[in-house]
Structure formats: C-alpha cells, structure tokens
C-alpha cells in the first residue's frame, strides 16, 4: 500500500514545480502588465478616494436624506418622496434666496473682475516698490471673513454707520442698508469684493507677465497707445485666465455664506429675507428649524443649479477657445 503510495505522491510534486515555474513567469509578466496599466490609477487614487469619502458620499447621502422627514436631533423619519422638493419649489423663501444669491453674485463678480483687471494692468507697469504694491492687494484676502464683516458692520450700520454719516454731511438721506433689498446686496457685495479682488488681481497679473513682451514692442512700433495695447493685446491674451476666474467666482458666488450671515446680529438673512442666500437658507432650515430633509432638498437644488451654470460656462468657454483657433486659422490663411 505504501509502496504504491509513494510514487503517486512524488509525481504531482514534480509536476507542481513545473506548473509553478510556468506560472511564476506568467504571473510576473502579468504583474508587469498590471504595473503599466493599473499603477497610474493607483497614483491618482488618493484624490479619488478622498473625493468619494468627502465629496461623493455626502452628496449621495444628502440626496437620500432629501427624500425623508429628517430631524437634526432625532434623525431619520418616514420616507416622503418628493414632498421636500415640492415644499422648497413652492416656498417664497427659497425663490427670494435664489434672487438674492444671483443678485449678490452679479453685483460682486462683475465689478470684481473688471477692477481686478485694471489693477493688474497697473501693477504690471513699471512701478517703484513693485513687490510692496503686489503684496498690498492681497492683504484683504488674508483678513478673516468674520473680521471683514465686523469692520463693514460699522461702516454700513443704519444709524451710526460711517457711510451714512458721510452721506448726511453731503446732504443725502441715509440709506437703510439692512431694510431694503438692493442696498443690502450692494453692502454685502462690497464685502465680497473687498476680500476677493486682490486674489483675482494676482492671478491676472501672473497671466499678464506671461504675455511675450515683443508683442507690445511691435505694437509700440506700429504706433499703438497704452489703451489700444490693453484692449488688443492684453485682454485677448488673457482669455484662458478669464475663463478660469469666471468659473471659480461663479461657484464661489453661488455658495456665498459668511458675509450675509454676519451682516446683522441675528444671521437670518434679514427680517424679510432681504439678503438670505441659498446657503444661508440651508443652514436655517437644517439648524434653526432642524428640518434636514428640506435643507437637503435645497442643497441638491443648489447643486443642480451650479451644475447647469457650470455647463453654460463650459459651453461659452469652448466657444471662446474655438474662436481662438478659428482666429489662428484665419491668420494662417492670411499669412499664406
């Protein structure tokens, strides 16, 4: 029994080794192939893992919450389908907050980009103490938003504010910054501009310095003045930077939160929702009213809004860049 058993045992071992050797070759080859094909994904995976944990998961979970009755403290309640969305879309408060958000966004982003462009052009010129001025424009950006709000709170106070005191000296009636819609938006947009203009200026400045100087020299020889140079060389060359700034300030502008929240002592966006923004509404629904279901519904609608606007931005920027290539083709044709 044992004599017949031994060779039987030995047989498979040698077979095994052969198989293993073959396999080892195959495996290391496969490993090599994996290394080429999988490793790149592995290297970029930290970002995606982080994104899934802190971006995608909360996003989907917010969607899940928005279909339920959900109290901040007691947690999940009944599933209610689209009831929360229905309530939000029929609520005056929500539409007022959308109006306020877009109004503040336009009042802040448009002047901001224009002022930043002009400031960058000035800083690009040959100034004395260049670095001092360039660092200077960034100072407001370093100040904490809460501190900015405190300073501007003193400026924009209805009765005791500095601006109304100056207006009174000139003989203009005081502006009720906290009572009326447009003045409150202007005041909040001023805070936003104060903070972000310097940041955008530096980005524009960096892009301007990358413009080849010989273009300006050629223009100078052709007799183009400063203003003509700015509009015909600087601005066209800044297109990609402009798109970047427009996209980032759109996303930032639609999520504006600190400034309107700190604009008065209650932080509820005004007694009549004069300056309640969408993000403030989310906070108010979720944390004051403890209704996470509705807050999540608003959050998702805001997400979709940003998505749509980003899409429009994307299409516009594609048109601009295709204009650029079309322009280049034209130029080539002319040259030929």
């Amino acid at each position: 029994m044992t004599s017949t058993g031994t060779p039987q045992l030995a047989g498979p071992t040698s077979d095994d080794e052969r198989v293993r050797q073959q396999r080892r070759v195959g495996f290391s080859q496969r490993l090599g192939r994996w290394d080429v094909k999988v490793s790149p994904y592995l290297y970029i995976s930290p970002f995606f893992i982080l994104f899934i944990v802190v971006g995608l998961f909360p996003l989907l979970y917010t969607g899940y919450v928005s279909f339920h009755k959900w109290d901040l403290l007691t947690g999940k309640g009944d599933s209610v389908g689209f009831e929360n969305f229905d309530w939000v879309l029929h609520s005056d408060m929500f539409w007022k907050s959308v109006r306020n958000t877009f109004s503040i966004f336009l009042l802040s982003s448009v002047p901001q980009v224009i002022i930043a462009l002009v400031l960058a052009a000035i800083l690009d010129a040959n100034l004395r103490a260049k670095t001092f001025w360039r660092m200077g424009v960034l100072v407001p950006y370093v100040v904490a938003p809460v501190a900015v709000s405190l300073i501007f709170g003193q400026l924009f106070a209805d009765q005791s504010g500095t601006i109304n005191a100056i207006l009174a000296k000139v003989g203009i009636d005081p502006i009720l910054w906290h009572s009326h819609v447009l003045p409150s938006h202007i005041a909040i947009a001023t805070m936003v501009n104060f903070r972000w203009t310097g940041y955008n200026t530096l980005i524009f400045l960096a892009a301007m310095q990358a413009i080849p100087r010989d273009l300006y020299e050629a223009a100078l020889i052709d007799g183009a003045k400063r203003v003509r140079q700015f509009f015909s060389i600087t601005i066209p060359m800044l297109r990609p930077t402009m798109i970047f700034i427009v996209v980032t300030s759109t996303i930032g502008g639609l999520q504006i939160f600190d400034e309107p929240r700190m604009f008065d002592q209650a932080g509820r966006g005004g007694a009549d929702q004069q300056y309640l923004t969408v993000t403030n509404l989310i906070y108010q629904l979720g944390w004051t009213n403890r209704n996470f279901g509705r807050a999540s519904a608003v959050a998702w609608i805001l997400f979709l809004m940003i998505l749509v606007i980003s899409l429009i931005n994307y299409l516009l920027s594609r048109r601009i860049s295709s204009d650029e290539t079309a322009g280049a083709k034209k130029r080539k044709k002319v040259r030929a």
């Binding site: 899934i52 947690g75 005791s160 906290h178 944390w287």
Partner: protein
C-alpha cells in the same frame, strides 16, 4: 477599450470598498465608545486616577478661577477649557454632537433657550439628579432641565430676574422722578402703566425714545406667559391659532401708541450698541447680565440706574445650565465637577467677580450677593434688587420643541415693523404665521 473599462471598474470597485471600510470603521468606533465608557467612569470615581475633563462654555461663565481651585482640591483632575467664540456656534456644536452621537466634551454648557431641544434628546445626557442638588434651585429653574418622567439633565448656573434700567438725566429732563424707588412706583406693576409713563415722557419732547426695541419688550412679555407658543400637554403650536396668547401682545406692541415710544433699534445691532452712549432711549428691560452690557457699551455714561420693578410681574430672562453627556469617558468625575461648579458657594463668588447672577436659591440670599453695590449704576444695591426680583419669580413659560424657531420668527416679525419699517403690523403678522406654518 472594453478592457480598460473593465479594469477601470475593478479599480473603482476596490476604491469604493476601501471607502466603505473607512466609513464602516468610523461609525463602528462611534458606537463602540458608548459601552466601555461606563466601565472607566466607575473607576474614575475612585478619585485617584488622573482624569482630564473638557468643559465647553460660551460667552463668560466666570469659571476660570474655579477651575484652578478645583484642580488644587483634586490633584488627579485636569480641566480643559473649551470655549466657543459665539453662543450660536456653541449651540451648533451641541446639536451636532447629539446628531452624530459623538461626545467631544465632558461637560457642556447650554443656554436656557436650547433646553427644549436638548430635553427632546435626553438619552444623550446623563441623569444628574442626586441628593446634593435637591432643592438647590427654585422649581421653575429645574423644571426647564427636567424631562416629563423626572430626569434632571442640567445643573442651573446663572439666572436673569428682570428689572428696569433707566437714564436719570433723561428722566430729569422730562420732569419725571429720578430716585430709583420713586421711578419704580411711577412705572408701576402693569405694562399699561409703563406705557402711560412712556407717553408722559414722550410728551416732554426730550428727543429720546422711551425704550430701545420692541423685540426686547416682547421677550420680557413672552417670559411672563404660561405657554406662549405651544400647548404644554400636546406640544402643538398655538402661537398662530385663534387662542394665541402672543397675538394680543403683538397687537399692543405694534400699535401706533407703543411704536411712537420706540427707538426703533434692532437688539444687539451695532446701532443698538452705539445708542447706549447717546441720548436715544430712557428705559430698557434689565436682567442682571444686561447691566454688564450697558456698562460695556457706554463706559463713560454715568447716568444709568436700576429701578426695582418689572411691569407685568416678576419674570426671568436668560440663564444657563451645565449638562453631562452620558457617553463621555468620565461621567462620574464630570458630574462631580458640574455639581461643584454650580454649588451656591461658587455661584456667589462668580456673581461678586463677574456679575453673573446665581440661580441657586441659597446663593441669592448670600450676604456677599445681597451686599453687592454697583458703582456704575450710581451705587445701586444691585445684589439686593436682583435678589428681590429673583424671589418673586414664580414660573417660566412652557417651551416646547418649536420654541427656538418660533421665537426667531417672532423676532423677525417685530424687526420688520419696528426697525426696517418694511411692513405694517398686519402684513408682518401674516408673514410670521407663514413662517410658523412652515415649521411643520
């Protein structure tokens, strides 16, 4: 192409599983924390093992010296002060820790306004009832921190028995009495007599208004109701119904007669803070903590004084509690510290140094407390005045789970009429009703 998508799928799947693992781990540890903690808390009461206690507060509780004293008495205890920048952020921190069921601090300070919400999730907090704290506070103070089935979740710290603060110089200008007892008599015990005197004051045309803000008066009047917003037995909202108790208050405060006496300032706004220095209003509701705010906003204004009276009956505005989350690592040690910090002897010391008026019955009759005078308020016997006001407080309004948002919406309603003037009384009430309806 097909190959790459399959590989990509595999990578995504593995990434997703890592993410799932990560989330699974985190939720696991959160749940796990609660169970072993009880074991360690029992050993902590042995009083020898080193214990670190984190205490979350906001504004100024006046605990700094007491922490040092306690750490000297108990060398094994280290107290870490975890102070929030604003009370609003402190509230968000408490509610977030309840919502996520994680314990960050061993002791949590909470404003009386938040108590209804915290009572609604009382399982998060330890039962603090014990013989040493029995009858330490009047019934209305403990009631706000006691669940329906009798579990005490908070130890009262300070309280806010209201008096009236007034400007002597403006009263004199208007030909009214200036002595604090005579002023109290002239103001009288009812809101009608208060507004009647206000009319006399306004008729004298001093240029100043009678009071600061309708919102502030509303706060005082709401605090005098049994059940301002909700039915105590069912927790249903009654504020906007036919039998609303706040509608008559609202109508009175937004009537032309009363609006004419207002300085139209939003409470806590920069304008309001700036007004204390100027001659903008003559009287205001004044719990003890308000005296610190007046003195802070107008350090050079020497004409403020305190009248020992409250129209509509004695009532309380404000006051806080210390709570101990039951999931903490050192529940017993935390309980002992909270007990000690709210002991009447400690509360009297805090009042003498910081001016936070105690809510402990024994502390309010302590000679240190009743003997305190306030030089800023013309040497007024503030300790005695507030002790008397405190003794007369008999109840606190019922505060259900909707108290906080309804109160905020009511504040907005008054601001629209009084400060912004964007609405009249009727249209602002309509908006208030809408805001309250949206809560359910």
């Amino acid at each position: 192409m097909r190959k790459t998508t399959r590989k990509f799928l595999a990578v995504t799947a593995s990434v997703a599983s890592i993410a799932l693992l990560a989330t699974a781990c985190s939720s696991d540890s959160g749940d796990g924390d609660a169970t072993p903690s009880k074991g360690t808390s029992e050993s902590a009461s042995a009083n020898t093992e080193p214990v670190t206690l984190k205490v979350a507060t906001f504004n100024e509780f006046g605990f700094a010296d007491l922490y040092k004293e306690y750490m000297q008495l108990h060398p094994n205890v280290t107290i870490v002060d975890d102070k929030a920048d604003t009370s609003d952020n402190a509230r968000a921190a408490v509610t977030n820790s309840i919502a996520s069921n994680t314990v960050v601090d061993d002791i949590v300070a909470a404003d009386g306004d938040w108590m209804p919400e915290l009572l609604a999730s009382d399982a998060f907090f330890a039962d603090l009832g014990s013989d040493s704290v029995k009858d330490r506070w009047p019934e209305w103070k403990t009631k706000m921190a006691t669940t329906a089935d009798g579990k005490l979740i908070g130890y009262g710290t300070d309280s806010g028995p209201e008096a009236i603060c007034y400007r002597k110089d403006l009263f004199e200008k208007a030909g009214l009495p200036t002595d604090r007892d005579e002023v109290a008599k002239a103001i009288g015990d009812s809101w009608d007599s208060y507004f009647d005197l206000g009319k006399k004051f306004m008729d004298a045309k001093t240029g100043a208004a009678w009071f600061d803000s309708i919102g502030a008066l509303s706060q005082g009047m709401v605090n005098q109701q049994e059940a301002p917003f909700e039915d105590p037995s069912t927790d249903e909202i009654t504020a906007t119904g036919d039998n609303s108790v706040i509608k008559p208050i609202y109508d009175k405060l937004t009537s032309d007669e009363v609006l004419a006496q207002s300085a139209h300032l939003g409470q806590w706004s920069p304008d309001w803070s700036a007004a204390f220095k100027k001659d903008q209003f003559a009287t205001m509701l004044c719990p003890p903590w308000m005296t610190q705010i007046i003195a802070g906003n107008a350090p050079d204004q020497k004409n403020w004084d305190i009248a020992p009276v409250m129209p509509g009956g004695s009532s309380n505005w404000g006051g806080s509690y210390l709570l101990v989350p039951s999931g903490g690592k050192n529940v017993d040690a935390a309980k002992a510290l909270a007990d000690w910090l709210t002991d009447p002897a400690q509360a009297a010391k805090i009042f003498v140094k910081y001016g936070n008026f105690p809510s402990q019955t024994a502390a309010t009759t302590d000679a240190q407390v009743t003997g305190k005078t306030d030089a800023y308020f013309g040497g007024a016997p503030s300790g005695k005045i507030f002790s008397d006001r405190f003794a007369a407080v008999s109840k606190q309004p019922y505060r259900g789970t909707h108290y906080f948002p309804i109160n905020a919406a009511l504040g907005d309603a008054y601001t629209r009429v009084d400060v912004n003037k964007t609405d009249d009384s009727a249209s602002s009430w309509k908006k208030f009703v809408k805001a309250v309806d949206d809560l359910s």
